[in-house]
């Protein structure tokens, strides 16, 4: 079986700036694969190379066994794209947007009309069929971009922050749609800053920073490897730190709270309560967000 995407020693230069530095990964068919990373990590740059709209600078990139530098037309014909920035055609209505887009894929008119009705139903926009796209809300635009990405019944779907700016209802709706696409065998590549979303949807993920891949694995595996299953939060207080040092516990200071990593949470919370008498500690399951912050630090990216 060929992989949906194989990247080997992939590089991307913008003039002299190296935006993607020697990354390798492979995405299997039918898998949902996430790219995480702070602003400027190189996620969009990587997505654009996979989409064959941005030429690779060095290395190798194959989609369904086809080289992106040679077979871009073929690859793009079975790919659907939700770009980070909406780029709907403002000169047209919702329906016309999908129709005009279907022509780029050589979909015959009758078939296109059928698909458009299905898709508008799928993203709950049937009522907005004849409205100009400017008058849609942000969330509706995002849903329309998703519908547009599905017009050619793609085998690979690239989603660059698909749920940005959506209300919880709309996000849940999109997740549900993505799961249903996954059941149909569509390979999904997604970037997102909502880590709960990635944790829920993705089979595997990578965390990128400064153009490099820091980790790869399943969400559970990555959490287990870097944090352990649970995390204890306590107030950042000199007495606590002293106490933790004595116990030789692994912890990290995050502003005004301390994260304590432990395999056996019960044991350590008991110790903290008994020996150090902390009033306020909470134990909770570790999340991807903890991994993300641990790996990429707390500093803001300019």
């Amino acid at each position: 079986m060929v992989s949906a995407v194989i990247a080997k020693d992939l590089h991307k230069y913008f003039k002299d700036q190296l935006a993607v530095k020697n990354i390798s990964f492979s995405i299997e068919e039918g898998e949902t694969f996430g790219f995480l990373g702070p602003n400027g990590a190189g996620k969009t740059t990587t997505m654009r190379m996979i989409q064959c709209v941005s030429p690779i600078s060095r290395g190798k990139l194959e989609i369904m066994g086809m080289d992106t530098t040679k077979y871009h037309r073929e690859i793009k014909s079975f790919m659907g794209v939700v770009p980070q920035e909406n780029n709907l055609d403002g000169d047209f209505t919702v329906y016309e947007n999908l129709l005009v887009y279907s022509r780029y894929f050589d979909i015959p008119r009758g078939e296109a009309d059928k698909r458009i009705d299905e898709l508008l139903d799928f993203v709950h926009l049937l009522e907005k069929r004849d409205v100009m796209t400017e008058s849609l809300s942000g969330g509706m635009k995002r849903r329309l971009v998703l519908a547009r990405a599905l017009i050619n019944r793609p085998r690979i779907l690239i989603l660059d922050e698909p749920t940005v700016g959506l209300d919880p209802q709309a996000r849940h709706m999109i997740w549900e749609k993505l799961r249903s696409l996954k059941r149909q065998g569509v390979t999904i590549v997604i970037t997102s800053h909502y880590l709960d979303e990635v944790e829920k949807l993705c089979d595997r993920l990578v965390v990128m920073d400064y153009g490099k891949i820091l980790v790869q694995g399943t969400p559970g595996g990555v959490i287990e490897r870097f944090i352990g299953s649970n995390i204890i939060e306590a107030e950042n207080d000199p007495a606590i730190l002293e106490c933790l040092k004595q116990k030789d516990a692994s912890y990290e200071i995050m502003g005004d709270i301390v994260h304590i990593y432990a395999a056996n949470t019960a044991e350590i919370s008991e110790y903290l309560l008994m020996e150090c008498s902390f009033p306020k500690i909470t134990a909770r399951p570790a999340t991807l967000e903890d991994v993300f912050l641990k790996l990429t630090g707390r500093r803001l990216r300019e």
Binding site: F14, Q51, V53, S54, P55, H72, R73, E74, K76, S77, M79, V81, P83, E85, N87, L88, D89, G90, D91, F92, E96, V100, Y101, R103, Y104, F105, D106, N152
Partner: protein
């Protein structure tokens, strides 16, 4: 990019036509509004210049002034239609509407997109010519025998100016800066290409300059010959000039746009 880079032959597929279709569909939405300028503008010029100014400038080289300028008005309209469509128009579609970005995510390439834009620009020129030829014909200002040939020629003349507009759209840092080529290139052409007076009244160096570097000169010559029904070798020279220079500029404009957009 070196010279070869600018002259690299683009790989255009038949899908370029989809971009043409997209622009046509937008045009058809406001069809009534879009038809008005090419209908009205020549009439205003004909009345003001032809019949007004024409009272004083009775004839040029033996033809009444209004007959002299009528074909030039078609040529000017051919220039304006495609130049503006592929400079301001394409820039807005590329930069503000992000339409090119959306299209290149489909099986079309940037070469197809730009080719489609150029074809559409040329079509606008042809549409204008097809409105103006009959209107001017009704006034009896053109020889009908060859005048219909002006319409297909307007397409190729349109391609030339579409490519010029696209070159500027590709290199302009922002939309306001397109005003410079309009001021320094398009407006002088409007005035000095044998449009309102024959260029042989200008000093010889200026005449050479106009022939070599002002494409409108050739468009005016060809359309005027067809309108007067004078078929001679200078007509052939004009057509060949337009085709050759047009082809070169199309290639350059696509490569300039690729340099801007393929990152």
């Amino acid at each position: 990019m070196n010279i070869q880079g600018y002259l690299k032959i683009p790989s255009i597929s038949i899908r370029a036509f989809k971009v043409w279709q997209r622009n046509r569909d937008v045009f058809m939405k406001d069809i009534k509004l879009n038809f008005l300028p090419p209908l009205l503008e020549p009439m205003l010029y004909l009345i003001a210049l032809g019949f007004g100014l024409g009272k004083f400038v009775e004839s040029i080289n033996g033809v009444p002034y209004v007959v002299f300028i009528a074909p030039a008005l078609i040529a000017v309209s051919v220039m304006y239609a495609s130049f503006f469509e592929c400079s301001y128009g394409s820039y807005v579609r590329m930069y503000y509407q992000k339409i090119f970005d959306a299209i290149v995510a489909t099986p079309l390439t940037i070469d197809d997109v730009i080719a489609g834009e150029l074809l559409w620009g040329a079509t606008r020129s042809m549409i204008n010519a097809s409105i103006m030829v009959p209107v001017i014909g009704i006034f009896g200002l053109i020889d009908l025998k060859y005048s219909l040939l002006i319409i297909p020629f307007a397409f190729f003349g349109g391609l030339l100016f579409a490519a010029i507009g696209m070159c500027f759209a590709a290199v302009t840092p922002n939309i306001m800066s397109i005003n410079y080529p309009v001021l320094l290139f398009i407006t002088p052409m409007f005035l000095f290409s044998g449009t309102f007076f024959p260029i042989d009244v200008l000093p010889l160096p200026v005449q050479y300059f106009a022939t070599a570097f002002l494409p409108l000169t050739h468009i005016v010559n060809v359309i005027r010959s067809l309108a007067f029904g004078v078929i001679d070798s200078s007509l052939l020279f004009g057509i060949i000039w337009v085709l050759i220079v047009g082809s070169i500029l199309i290639v350059i404009s696509i490569n300039l746009m690729k340099r801007r957009l393929v990152v």
